[in-house]
Symmetry: C2
Subunit: 302 residues, 2 copies
Amino acid sequence: MELRHLRYFVAVVAEGHLTRAARRIGIAQPALTQQIKALEAELGIRLFDRAGRGIVATEAARAFAEEARAILARVDGAVQHARQVARGLAGRVRVGFTESASFHPLVTGSFHRFRARYPEVRLDLEEGDSTALAAGLAEGRVDAAFVRPPLPAAGTVRLDPLAAEAMVAALPVGHALAGRESLTLTDLAAETFILYPRAVRPGLADAVLAACEAEGFHPVVGQTTPQLSSTVNFVAAGIGVSIVPACMAEMRPKGVRYLPLVGPQPSAMLGIAWRRGEPAQAVRNFVATARAGRGALAAPPP
Amino acid sequence: MELRHLRYFVAVVAEGHLTRAARRIGIAQPALTQQIKALEAELGIRLFDRAGRGIVATEAARAFAEEARAILARVDGAVQHARQVARGLAGRVRVGFTESASFHPLVTGSFHRFRARYPEVRLDLEEGDSTALAAGLAEGRVDAAFVRPPLPAAGTVRLDPLAAEAMVAALPVGHALAGRESLTLTDLAAETFILYPRAVRPGLADAVLAACEAEGFHPVVGQTTPQLSSTVNFVAAGIGVSIVPACMAEMRPKGVRYLPLVGPQPSAMLGIAWRRGEPAQAVRNFVATARAGRGALAAPPP
DNA sequence: TAAAAATACTCCATAGGTATTTTAT
DNA sequence: ATAAAATACCTATGGAGTATTTTTA
């Protein structure tokens, strides 16, 4: 059986008349008679009662016609949808992001703009550390990811920096320095730091450590925690101080004060990563949307 | 586009390999290449990335393949269902019945047996008087009907009697005759009758009137009501006596006593009606089921 | 008798086959 | 060097056309 049979059959049921149906389809009547007969033979059932003058659909034919119409409509729909997917106007994009990125306006802005422009594309969001996200990209579990560079080298994954974000000092409210307007990095040389393990957050941890080294001191790390949110909570508990991306200041638990850093300081890079030569248009559209946001917020407010 | 394209395409996506897919389908590889190319041309999108060695389905292809599989499955399902309908194992039968018939065990038994044997056939039930049901049959609104013969003559409607049912007298409990074991028709000659209009219930009304005439009296009709249930209620209210089909004794409101009739008496026929030459197998099956119940309960219990 | 469907036949478009080339691993 | 897909070309099945017959309202 072919779709042709269904198309012809539906036309015949609709017209209730072979000659008229043939005219509508645009073929000759005997050709239509043949195709209908072939369909009946394949189904092994009579579809029409021939009354010499005109034909009448059987009960089975009426049931089959209903399904046939639905099937033809579904074929149309599938074609439309496939075309949409090909143009990146439908489908799904799996986007990963690191914890700190989830607070960044470039990231949330990308989600908003993409959803507004491609409402038929589903965004499957997933939080993870940069290392896991890079692996996810390479293995095809993730299509695009907001990460903190650098990523573990992987030829297939491409990374585009979106912004260099200032970092701020996080101090317990009771701390001696907490009353100041701003700090330099060396002001913190004697403090106990709460940092994140290098294994999962190489980008941020290295930026902080390198900046301290450049100022001539090794920070004392009293505690490491994998989550930035718990880092801030440890600071609130008075266990130490930390340096976090400026956008983290959105998260403002009781007992923490954020102070801008002046002078030499670490900077947190934010980047978007995707597979080089990604064929899915929806993914390319997402990456383009994210990159289009660049510039706009490149420099954090002073 | 034809189902052939979908079948081939699904096979290629499943195998991820043109040569292997061609072998599975049972055609040569170049023929398959051509058909896939034709499909791509018709959809206007690339379905596979050619890497020289092997092919990879695009995002759009994966989306389309999912739909294609569903469509092919649905085609199969539609064929199966049409065959079931043709054999009367699926579909719908619209069955009408008169009020009195709905109490008759031949009728309820038919419904039970049919449902047990043809669980995939929906029974659409509809109550109506014999006149309306006969019209419904002729106009195709009803497929089969349990009625009280005779029906208004209509060449296309056939009727088969199922049972001759005894009728019983219905008296108010306080009535002088209500204490008797049984009655003859002439015992009721002086009573006021509650009957049903001849226009809607010609079968029952005529049977009662004719039997009375045969016994030499014209019954005094004090009240006519279109519903048998209200007839019985009027009897309960002491407004008169009536004669109803024995199966109506199932309906037993306070204040009514049913007495068997001995000697010459009316008899209520029960029949099944359907369109002569009905093509729908499910309807034929229903009528056959109803007729098969005949004999069994032909004579009402004494 | 007229209108509709079926039959008889003819034709050609195209699905599918074989042989071969191209391409990437 | 080899496996897979693409290309070139051929074949023949069957979809569709024209002419005609059959059937019944």
